[in-house]
């Protein structure tokens, strides 16, 4: 019956139809309204909630989330609109005429309190035994309304079994308040759609296709639903106990690598405003916790740039210079495991476009159990590798059966930013006050190129810095001011850039055995694109399918999460566009201070290629350890 298969979210869960003009004042689209007898003017189409927020009038919300389309289901935000019999949900009511609104009338207050009492009556569990204690929107509402007992009773037995089948996301529907944020995140924000309300009335719950465990449906593990759950109904699969056990085991050499995004956000878990980078403080904390070595994932990101960049040049060489017909172009990035699984499920025919290069996390894992134990003289069987990631899908990625090229499980545990903050707190450390320290050798401090992997467009920028320098022989600073490739930065869902290659240089020694010259690239316009959030990825992929603009691209960066890694499913809660913007600012600000800002200039990386990956990028050693294969999953779980 559904006519347009591209539109998966129902109309009831769509954004408001009334579009707000960019220049409402100029075109006379301002509406003069009264809120609590105060006269204000708002652009036509503003919701009551937005109008109140702009005027510093607090409206409690629960099902509303700034990133998501409206639902209007919790009814906590109801207000009185003069002339209407019933109360209206502030979040979903667009102002189109001069209404008079009351936000604190007795009717409103009573209704909100009753609704809150109803929600609490069905919300199983106790706050102190909950992962979201002190960061729970339902708890905050209860506090706001001074709830000191349960007016309509309180459920005393769990109704649902906790689903911890997934490596990434644990679902405890006993704590669910049916706000449907996860449903909307999945189907509307990400256009994946594994969660939906099942049954009706009292029996309603959020479930999966045929009630299968989450591990057995086409969940891409992005964890965006976790970031938007107002309660503890969704949380990541937490490996803290195992990691503590490994740390406490004197036999084990426990290594932690830290991705670029957690350091830009972990301060939020300690009460700091978003946008404070705590790289050095975090390193110190990790050592105090008891990790034996602290490495920077950005080093592996530099390695990824080398491998993925070389692969791109090889693909282009084969396709453009040698005219081989079966080379898949554009090349897609493969750092985001959520994106990789999305592609495997939804566009399995495209997997040959994915770069075979592993993600930085997994590249590092393979090195940490091969190269590292060799130079350190440790038995790799005793090495435990932990990766602190902004990501839920990384927990799945490290458990992929392919990720054992070292002969061991390359990465033992994926740890989210939230979980690491928890470990730091458990260790009795207040992170923001710690002294700073650097990363351990032999990998040391990485380049700025690796750091910006954390923001959408960062992988593209890092790769372009290296590829353009290698190809043109020119300094990137001569092409882009301060080496900042602005066209691929920003938060627009899909970005497209064209970079003409006007001159080419000599092929650098490190890849000269692969590509004899760059003459074939001269005069070519390099077309690249960046997409973040799988809904945007879907648009790009559909365009490629239809032979559109993006099918002529050479290289496309995809990130599963809105904002890229800094908005990942393992990052501190809450999230919204403003918070993600501040995290990005923190990353770019730190990047400008670093000595090296191009992956191929990383001295430790050059050493690695000289001593270990001796046949260069995309050579046989790196192919064994640093590259991988993908699975055409389709609708099936393989």
């Amino acid at each position: 019956m559904r006519k347009n298969n591209n539109v998966r979210a129902p109309e009831s869960q769509k954004r408001l139809k009334v579009k707000i003009a960019d220049n409402p004042e100029d075109i006379g689209a301002m509406v003069h309204i009264e809120i609590n007898e105060k006269k204000v003017s708002v652009p036509l189409g503003t919701t009551i909630l937005e109008a109140c927020r702009k005027n510093q009038i607090h409206i409690p919300t629960l099902c509303h989330h700034d990133d998501l389309c409206i639902a209007g289901v919790c009814r906590v935000c109801v207000v009185e609109v003069e002339g209407m019999k019933t109360l209206q949900a502030a979040c979903s009511f667009p102002i189109t005429n001069p209404v008079k609104i009351k936000t604190t009338s007795p009717r409103v207050r009573r209704a909100r309190k009753n609704i809150l009492d109803l929600l609490l009556s069905e919300h199983y569990g106790e706050c102190y035994a909950c992962v979201r204690n002190n960061n729970c929107e339902l708890q905050a509402l209860a506090k706001e309304y001074g709830v000191d007992h349960y007016n309509f009773g309180h459920i005393d037995k769990p109704k649902f079994q906790v689903d911890n089948s997934s490596y990434a996301v644990v679902r405890d529907m006993n704590k669910c308040v049916l706000c449907k944020r996860c449903v909307r995140t999945c189907i509307d924000l990400q256009e994946v759609g594994v969660l939906e309300a099942i049954n009706r009335g009292e029996a309603t719950y959020i479930g999966t296709f045929f009630d299968k465990p989450l591990a057995d449906v086409i969940c891409i593990n992005c964890g965006q639903c976790i970031n938007r759950c107002p309660t503890g109904a969704l949380h990541a699969n937490d490996p803290r106990d195992e990691i503590w056990a490994a740390i406490d085991d004197p036999e084990k050499h426990v290594i932690i690598q830290t991705a670029p995004s957690p350091r830009a956000a972990i301060g939020e878990e300690f009460g700091l405003e978003p946008g404070h980078s705590l790289t050095g403080e975090m390193n110190t904390a990790l050592r105090r916790i008891g990790f034996d070595a602290v490495f920077d994932t950005n080093f592996a990101a530099d390695l990824t740039v080398m491998e993925e960049g070389t692969e791109l040049l090889l693909r282009l060489y084969k396709a453009l210079a040698k005219g081989e017909p079966d080379v898949a172009i554009p090349q897609f990035t493969s750092c985001s495991p959520g994106w990789v699984k999305y592609l495997e499920h939804f566009y399995p025919d495209f997997i040959n476009h994915l770069s075979s290069a592993k993600s930085p996390q997994q590249m590092f894992g393979a090195l940490l159990k091969t190269f590292y134990p060799k130079i350190k003289n440790i038995d790799p069987a005793n090495i435990v590798t932990v990766a602190v990631m902004p990501c839920a899908a990384k927990k799945f990625e490290c458990n992929r059966p392919e990720m054992t090229d070292s002969g061991y499980k390359d990465i033992d545990y994926g740890l989210t930013t939230r979980e690491l903050a928890q470990m730091i707190k458990e260790a009795g450390i207040y992170l923001p006050e710690l002294p700073k320290s650097g990363f351990d050798d032999p990998f040391g401090d990485a380049t700025g190129a690796g750091l910006i992997f954390g923001a959408t467009g960062g992988v593209m920028e890092a790769a372009l810095r290296t590829v353009l320098e290698l190809v043109t022989g020119d300094k990137i600073e001569n092409i882009f001011e301060n080496a900042e490739i602005k066209p691929v930065r920003g938060f627009e869902g899909i970005r497209y850039a064209e970079i003409p290659v006007t001159k080419v240089g000599k092929v650098p020694g490190i890849i000269s055995h692969l590509i004899p010259d760059f003459e074939w690239l001269k005069g070519i316009t390099l077309k690249v694109a960046v997409a973040h959030g799988t809904a945007n990825a879907k648009k790009v992929l559909e365009d490629i399918k239809n032979g559109g603009k993006f099918s002529h691209c050479h290289f496309i960066e995809f990130m599963a999460c809105p904002g890229g890694c800094l908005g990942g499913g393992g990052q501190p809660i809450p999230t919204n566009a403003e918070i993600r913007r501040k995290r990005a600012e923190a990353i770019y600000k730190e990047e400008r201070t670093l000595n090296y800002r191009k992956s191929h200039e990383n001295p430790k990386l050059i050493r690695l290629y000289n001593e270990f990956l001796t046949d260069g990028p995309c050579g046989s050693v790196s192919h064994k350890l640093l590259h991988t294969t993908y699975t055409k999953r389709g609708s099936f779980i393989v």
């Binding site: 019956m1 559904r2 006519k3 129902p10 109309e11 009831s12 408001l16 139809k17 009334v18 409206i70 639902a71 209007g72 289901v73 919790c74 009814r75 906590v76 109801v78 019999k85 019933t86 109360l87 949900a89 979903s92 009511f93 667009p94 189109t96 009717r107 009573r110 209704a111 009753n114 609704i115 109803l118 929600l119 009556s121 069905e122 007016n151 309509f152 308040v177 049916l178 449907k180 939906e196 309300a197 049954n199 009706r200 009335g201 009292e202 029996a203 309603t204």
Partner: protein, 403 residues
């Protein structure tokens, strides 16, 4: 279809009507004139909410869009209502003719009948009837020679959810989604089926329109009261000798209706189906009209042998099951009201808690997302209020509460 036709008598809907005559008449009129006739008739939606039909049509007609829809709401799901079934079986010409008229007036090219899942057995005969209309150019292209007026009707079978009678939930269901009410505004007249302007009318509303178009609004206004024009179909069931569908003028006293259907020893009358109100004998001199007791037409009669607590429990069980589950007040609120009924049965309900529940019921009425939750507390409030002696004076809810 002719064979099942009963001898029914009524001043408007059941009066004489010739198939196609409303279409013929309407196509000779301007759209503005049709809208004026409707406005002048004062016809209100017969599904229960009583929204002025002319306003709905005008708003849809005024909406600018390449495509518009007219939907006939035949999801007759209110307990105790069966008038639409009678119309569809015995008077399909009234319903479908008015849909064509509506299509012409509002500029829709497609009409959809959302037929209640349980009425599947009507599907074949209704489709046959539509084919007959197509043959006679009452449907299809250039209807009755009117150049450029194309309109066709298809029938969509519902899946049996009560809430899908709510127009936006109906549209969601029609689009293939869960039957859940949408946020309003925007209203379907602007953003309806597939995001296009959509007018949703009840079966009976449409049937009445056919007569108004042919016989004029002035004629129609002869019936009813000053504020409630015309007639209404009543589905009367329960403890009476002659249950069935009656066409009555607005303004009739409840006691007269009871007399008409041969109800004896009547203790209670539930008006407006499960979501309506329950009146006791002291209120039987009230009149059925928008200004007094408005109703979608369901009247359920209970005699002295019935336990009102059981009646209430039955209604609340219905709502607990039929709430779509999306909004908090309806999903959990109905459960709490049902729990209270069970507490009364067990003699555990305190008056303090009852007071809280009444407040909750008020919250449900004003804060629920759609008409379901806004009206489901009605039976609770009215039965508890109108039959409190029976319910509270006897242990556990009265002499008939326990078998």
């Amino acid at each position: 279809m002719e064979g099942v036709k009963h001898n029914r008598f009524g001043p408007v809907i059941f009066s004489k009507y010739e198939r196609g005559s409303a279409i013929e008449r309407a196509l000779a009129m301007s759209r503005e004139d049709i809208l004026f006739e409707l406005k002048n008739s004062g016809l209100k939606g017969r599904g229960g909410a009583g929204f002025p039909t002319s306003t709905k049509w005008m708003l849809t007609a005024a909406a600018i869009s390449d495509k518009k829809y007219l939907i006939c709401n035949a999801d007759e799901g209110e307990p105790g209502t069966f008038k639409d079934r009678v119309l569809l079986i015995e008077y399909p010409e009234l319903v479908f003719d008015a849909m064509v008229v509506g299509g012409y007036t509002i500029g829709a090219t497609e009409g959809i009948v959302y037929l209640r899942g349980e009425y599947e057995y009507l599907l074949d005969s209704l489709n046959d009837y539509l084919n007959g209309m197509r043959k006679d150019n009452l449907l299809g292209e250039n209807i009755l020679g009117k150049k450029g007026f194309n309109f066709d009707i298809r029938i969509f079978l519902g899946e049996g959810s009560y809430v899908c009678g709510e127009e936006t939930a109906l549209i969601e269901s029609l689009e293939g989604h869960r039957g859940e009410a949408r946020n309003r505004p925007p209203y379907p007249v602007n953003t309806g089926f597939m995001g296009k302007p959509t007018c949703v009318n009840n079966v009976e509303t449409l049937a009445t329109i056919s007569h108004i178009i042919v016989k004029g609004s002035e004629w129609y206004k002869n019936f009813g009261t000053s504020k409630s024009k015309g007639t209404k179909l009543f589905s009367i069931s329960g403890d009476c000798e002659k249950p069935g569908v009656y066409e009555l003028e607005w303004g009739m006293k409840i006691s007269d209706v009871l007399k008409l259907v041969g109800a004896k020893d009547t203790k209670a009358v539930q008006i407006g189906g499960a979501s309506g109100v329950c009146l006791n004998s002291s209120q039987f001199d009230r009149t059925l009209a928008y200004e007094d007791v408005p109703t979608g037409g369901s009247i359920i009669i209970f005699n002295k042998k019935r336990s009102m607590l059981k009646v209430l429990k039955n209604f609340m069980e219905f709502f607990v099951e039929e709430s779509c589950g999306q909004c908090t007040p309806c999903r959990i609120g109905n459960v709490k009201l049902l729990e209270a009924v069970k507490m009364i049965e067990e003699n555990k309900l305190t008056f303090g808690y009852l007071k809280k529940l009444k407040e909750l019921a008020e919250t449900m009425k004003i804060a629920s997302k759609c008409g379901l939750g806004q009206s489901s507390p009605n039976p609770f409030l009215s039965i508890i209020e109108n039959f409190k002696e029976e319910i509270f004076n006897y242990a556990g809810g009265g002499e008939y509460a326990k078998e």
